[in-house]
Symmetry: C2
Subunit: 578 residues, 2 copies
């Protein structure tokens, strides 16, 4: 492809709304252009990367017997009512009426549509198993889209769905997809990890996420030192590094004291000179689903040094989405004081306590009176706990929940997610088959997603330097960036065009920068766009019969005889891709 | 691909809502499944055809310097307001609000988004020309979806947009796209024709449609006997075969007569014993855009034997959409009688007369009094005509408007449409460039669509027989359908599997029917699905060392030595594709 004919424009200014390097680089490289919040046009270069990644996905899935279909973007309400997700999905599901007042939504996932597709044909056990997938545009009405393609509203996704006779079959399908995903991300050529994960509102029994590691990743991951355990912090059990045994201290008399203006745990720790881990944090939530008309207040207690894990609370309460915190007005109604002076004593609502806090004695908590706290508060004597449970966020240094040693923390970008669903959808939607014994049996399902557009940006988030993107060869828009320094010079033009033709002829993809620009501009753009190999063809080099080959990742420079260029690049590409 | 592992299910019953053969065959072959009115899931086989066609399109466009991008499905209102199409497009544009009450629509076409994309980068004449295209899902809120993929709501389209410095450049781009489209449909291997067409509400100066010919096609096409002229009936000038000269008869006195119960032209012709071509048909429309609060009534007069061409009327009145007919109540208010007794005499509204009617003298028209008509009505004496214009539908037998001879009629399915737009969008959206003289100049645009999913069904509508589809090799899901008659027999299984591997190895795509079904079922399904070549491998044949090769189109049967099968199929495919 020749730059001058391809509508490629790099941008000098870093856009104000691009907070992380990959988003900045995508915009500066002209790879994407924002059309609306979280909605983008993919330019000619990024589309090539997306298509390459799609093909890697396709090859690995086809190899494992998955069958590609294509389902629609617009779904009728009726199907989503069958699974109850029309309401369960909340406002992330974008709903609308068409001109004849029928209700539809934009497909955020396709469990309903694919289950309907399969139930129409599958009659007997002989029709199973089957695994259907698609690569399709999806839409989720994110309340706050950000980070470019990482949290967009419209995005490209690969979603696969397995249908099996029984749990054994379903687990086999799940494991095959785990293998496929590992192969896919390995072929990408980036650092990734798979972790235990929450099933969210997809529902299901087993679930693992695939993350591309990157410092700016949205997800916190905890991996054991030995590598035998890895989990998203969302579901990671929290076990204190040193087991805190219940204090044997005597219970002291409870005492109220003034804490004027002390609103946060940090304030209070400083004011009382007690470490935050000896204070108790009191939080209030409603145990109802989003959109409920009434609130059902509950209280959560944690050590002051810990953070609540909302997913653990959601799962404990059996909700579809993370519970909402009460607002100040609601808190005052429940405990008589503003947040900052609340505590468990005399509350009339269920109290859930994190297991890390259960060993505390004679601790400090809010007095439920503005500007006052209580000291020497004690469980059972001063208040009753409804349930003790693991509710805090795990963190680096916690104990490995499945073996020896401790946890280390990483940040990752979730790019794949696999779920063993069981029969949630097949039961709700009557997707049954006749077993060998002639019994009508719900199909066992799994679902498997890869954020295609998201992956491409996640790769950039891992693979870049201060000058720009460093594409892995697997999904680089082009293998080679040819910077033609003096395009008007006849010898240069002849050499450049000849080499360009030769590269194309042997299947090496080349972006030829044939613009009338200064060398500095061309080099900057080449670094920014980040193709793995750069060829520099200029008048001066050709005078000594040399072409420069620059390796983007290492910045290594090779001065080559023009006749050797193709062989050298071939050698590099072969070693990159195998 | 092996049938038993691919979730392919043919259907015995013809679905009630499938009115034309291609729709019936698509459903019966399990190619598509309806999800909602005009919304389908594409099964594994049809997806292969769609992808093959997409690749033909891509190759021909890339070859001509077009650049592929991908624009979003969801568009913000603001862009569509700039072009005024937010309202102009009427109810075909599906609009909705997101969770934060911003307004969006589903992309029905992408002129706005692409013009916005281009105007951000194009600064000077050096940045032009450029031609950008995408292959993307589109949505139009068709009021009455029917005919499967031919008039769906959600569909796959290739849309390209050219941007040029001036009219000469734009016409060059337009012609290049005409050439690309001709090459694309030629490679499909079906009968097609390109015709002059209306620009609809896209707006523009030049426009041609590409049609795949088929008896059930929605469009009527008129082609001159010599082939020098072809037009969609929508825009075809109507010239009477025999020029009707103005009658020299004396004007007779106007006379009212009773015509009780005579409501249609056919009734009246029978009742009065005057040929329909000597009667005058009076129609009423409102010269306002869809959604207007007031009506602006106008009257249209035609010979009783002619039909109005609503596109010609729309263009005459300068409207964006075809004008709406007045309802009975509105007609009564305008002329004092019900439709069936209306006429031009004493009307107080503009009267447009088709040029075919202007030669009439002493004709019969409604009396604007229920149950009465007038005879000996005459133009000028009895009523004034606001404008005489070509308003009737042309038909077979009319004179060729651009040369000798007469018009023949065909039916076609519109699969491609090219437009020279001019500066409609660039002016409305300030997409300008600095000319060589330093003047800010609006970009000259063209737009070019191919209905990708539509084309695939149109091919079936042309290429089928009573038994099923007859795929052209170009986009057949598979080249070869292998019917394995005795899959349990060891010799058969060995031969079938061996041949299957060999076919795959040389790039011949094979669908292997490895199901445990009777030969009759397998043959019926093979005919229905319609791959170009069928191999029949059975016990009996192998005993005489023979495999049957059946050509789907001709039903020709060749009995081949197994060793010769691949060479024979290769030979066929090569001749099909070159």
């Amino acid at each position: 492809m020749k730059w001058s004919k391809s509508h490629i424009y790099t941008v000098k200014e870093t856009p104000a709304d691009a907070e992380i390097p990959s988003h900045q680089l995508m915009v500066r490289g002209g790879y994407i252009k924002k059309v609306s919040q979280g909605i983008f046009t993919y330019g000619p270069l990024i589309l090539r990367s997306i298509r390459k990644f799609e093909n890697i996905v396709r090859e690995e899935l086809n190899k494992r017997g998955c069958v590609e279909i294509l389902m629609p973007v617009v779904h009728p309400r009726e199907l989503w009512e069958e699974s109850h997700r029309w309401t369960e999905m909340g406002k992330n599901l974008l709903k609308f009426k068409n001109r004849t007042y029928q209700e539809f939504c934009l497909g955020a996932t396709h469990e309903e549509v694919v289950t309907d597709y399969v139930r129409r044909d599958v009659k007997s056990y002989r029709d199973l198993p089957v695994n259907l997938y698609q690569i399709q545009t999806k839409y989720r009405d994110e309340i706050r889209p950000r980070f470019g393609l990482l949290r967009g509203r419209e995005f490209i996704m690969k979603d696969a769905y397995s249908f099996d006779r029984d749990s054994d079959g379903a687990i086999k399908s799940y494991k095959l997809m785990y293998e496929a995903y590992s192969a896919i991300f390995k072929r990408l050529g980036v650092k990734f990890v798979s972790v235990k994960a929450d099933s969210g509102n997809i529902g299901g029994k087993m679930s693992e996420e695939f993350h591309i590691l990157a410092d700016a990743g949205e997800d916190a991951l905890l991996v054991s030192e030995s590598g035998d355990f890895a989990a998203n912090v969302e579901v990671c059990p929290a076990i204190d590094a040193a087991m805190v045994s219940t204090s044997s201290a005597e219970m002291l008399p409870k005492e109220k004291f003034a804490t004027p203006g002390q609103k946060t745990i940090a304030d209070l720790a400083k004011f009382t000179k007690v470490d935050a881990s000896g204070l108790v944090k009191t939080l209030f939530f409603t145990a109802t689903e989003e959109g409920a008309t009434e609130i059902k207040p509950i209280c959560v207690l944690l050590r002051g040094s810990d953070e609540l894990n909302p997913i653990k609370l959601k799962n404990l309460l059996g909700l579809s989405n993370s519970p909402l915190m009460l607002n100040d007005e609601e808190v005052r109604r429940v405990c008589g004081a503003n947040p900052g002076s609340c505590g468990p004593v005399n509350l009339k609502i269920p109290i859930y306590m994190d297991s890390g806090a259960q060993g505390l004695k004679n601790f400090i908590a809010g007095a439920n009176e503005d500007g006052f706290h209580l000291k020497n508060v004690n469980i059972d004597r001063d208040f009753k706990v409804t349930q003790v449970a693991d509710l805090r966020l795990a963190h680096e240094g916690d104990r490995n929940p499945s073996g020896e040693g401790f946890l280390k923390s990483f940040r990752g970008i979730e790019v794949g997610h696999i779920f063993y669903l069981g029969s949630k959808y097949s039961k709700a939607m009557q997707a049954n088959y006749l077993s060998e014994k002639g019994e009508s049996t719900p199909i066992e399902m799994g679902c498997y997603g890869i954020g295609v557009s998201r992956t491409v940006q996640a790769v950039i988030e891992q693979c870049h330097d201060k000058d720009g993107i460093i594409w892995p060869t697997s999904i680089a828009p082009f293998h080679v960036h040819m910077s033609v320094l003096d395009p008007q010079d006849e010898a240069v033009a002849t050499m450049a065009n000849g080499l360009y033709e030769q590269l194309n002829a042997v299947g090496i993809e080349c972006l030829m920068d044939d613009r009338e620009e200064r060398p500095g501009v061309k080099f900057k753009d080449a670094d920014l766009l980040g193709m793995p190999y750069r060829l520099v063809i200029g008048k001066r080099g050709l005078q000594s019969n040399e072409i420069e080959l620059v390796v983007r990742r290492t910045k290594e420079v090779l001065k080559l005889n023009p006749g050797l260029v193709i062989a050298k690049i071939k050698e590099h590409l072969q070693s990159d891709l195998h």
